[in-house]
């Protein structure tokens, strides 16, 4: 990494983040906002440090329910995407149902899940899964559908079966779409888990924030939001790194 690149990739985002906190702090101080409306970053970081033990504890729960839901979504989304990309009849049959399903706000489903599985991690995992599998399905199916017809002709003339074409061309070709969708899916899964926790749970960051809000401990609510943002960035960065590792050929030109 040369100096210019170091500036763009490290210094620039760091400066921007610090500036954001400073402006926030300044606004709170100038307008003399009460802690219960908008606590300044200094109070938020103070709460973060003071309540670090319960925050870490609850973050752990949110993190693992997110990852569990995300993993299920990955496997299920990939399989369903391949099925949809496989044949137009499957595509035509499943697609409307899928879109209808995706249109349902997942918040509305959480009470039903709690009814079925009780308060605990299971509703959070299922919500994370339900909210995050859709982009994976759509992207995998798109990747498969955009296989060049000429290349398909070349292979079919050689006696390639549908499975051969999928294995040699369709699936490798849809990998950049698949990994691209994982970046979207991981953040969605995170949202799903937290939403489920805020509707009803006995642990997790969402539950922590809900309790803090009930006690008017607004700095803790904001500390929770800050942790959520940080975890979201970390999860995104990990999936982006995995994407780059596995589909480097698709990044040609940008990173060479």
């Amino acid at each position: 990494m040369n100096r210019r690149e170091f500036f763009i990739k490290v210094v620039s985002p760091a400066l921007f983040t610090v500036a954001l906190f400073l402006i926030w702090e300044a606004i709170c101080r100038v307008l003399k906002l009460p802690l219960t409306i908008l606590p300044p970053p200094s109070a938020v970081f103070g709460a973060l440090w003071q309540f670090r033990a319960p925050i870490i504890d609850n973050s752990y729960v949110t993190l693992w329910t997110t990852l569990a839901g995300f993993l299920i979504a990955t496997v299920f989304g990939m399989l369903l995407g391949i099925a949809i990309g496989w044949h137009r009849a499957i595509y035509a049959g499943i697609y409307p149902v899928l879109i209808g399903f995706n249109s349902i706000p997942k918040v509305a489903v959480v009470p039903v899940l709690i009814l079925w599985f009780g308060l605990g991690e299971v509703p959070a995992i299922i919500t994370a899964f339900l909210i995050s599998f859709f982009p994976i399905v759509v992207n995998v199916a798109t990747g498969l559908a955009t296989t060049e017809p000429e290349l398909e002709d070349v292979l079919r003339a050689l006696g390639a079966s549908k499975l051969d074409i999928m294995r040699k061309v369709g699936i490798p070709r849809s990998l950049p779409y698949f990994f691209g969708s994982l970046k979207v899916a991981i953040t969605l899964a995170f949202v799903g888990a937290v939403v489920s926790e805020t509707v009803g749970a006995n642990k997790g960051l969402g539950k922590l924030m809900l309790d803090a809000q009930a006690g008017f401990q607004v700095p803790i609510v904001f500390a929770g939001l800050l942790v959520l943002a940080a975890l979201g960035i970390i999860l995104y960065a990990i999936t982006a790194a995995i994407e780059y590792r596995f589909t480097r050929w698709a990044f040609r030109g940008q990173h060479r």
Partner: protein, 260 residues
Amino acid sequence: MTALVSLDKVSMAYGRGATATRAIEEVTLDIAHGEFIAVVGPSGCGKSSLMKLISGLHPPLSGTLTLEGKPITSPIKAVGMAFQNSNLLPWRNIVDNVLLPLEIVQPHRSRMRSERAQYRDKAVKLLESVGLKGFTDRFPWELSGGMQQRSSICRALIHEPEILMLDEPFGALDAFTREELWCTLRDIQAARKVTVMLVTHDLREAVFLADTVYVMSNRPGRVIRRCSVNLPRPRDLEVTYTPEFQDIVHELRAAIGGRH
């Protein structure tokens, strides 16, 4: 010479019933073993459809279509194809791209695992023979258009097909690169005695390379002229400036017609 491929009054259409579009109308032609034929004609005259027909990817509507006397009913494996777009897989390097057909077609497919090294050597030799020495481990996007097209032709040849089918393979290249590739193709055909069917817009290309040139009419495509090119082989690029060559090109141009 016996005919390798034989078409007798073959018609072909896309779609069915009243909405079907006729692509080819009663085409009769023979392709001999080792012959180099070129098919020329205006855009959309069904040249590419003819390729689909002969490779068995699309069934004829009527007429008989045979390969070595046997009717063509399903895709024939003895064909290698290359198109205007090289269609190389960007996640494979050049040599792995060339090996792709061997992973599909029998008997190579089952031997691929145990004899990969030998197959790889064969692919490398083939690539070197078309002037790609030192580029075999590169990725397609690192190569120029002409080099990609050479690789694409190697991919079409690796399983030693009886017929090489080329659909405007040099259409996207600049004039100088195109002439270089004509010579490459000429040498490949001379060395391997492979039967070639070349679909092209370029009359000079057709006359320079082919033994027989077929001119097709506007859609639905019919063969309106068959022209034997009796220029002696091996042909040099210089031949394209001779009056004999120009006469044949002129004659073909007149047959295609259109406004001038």
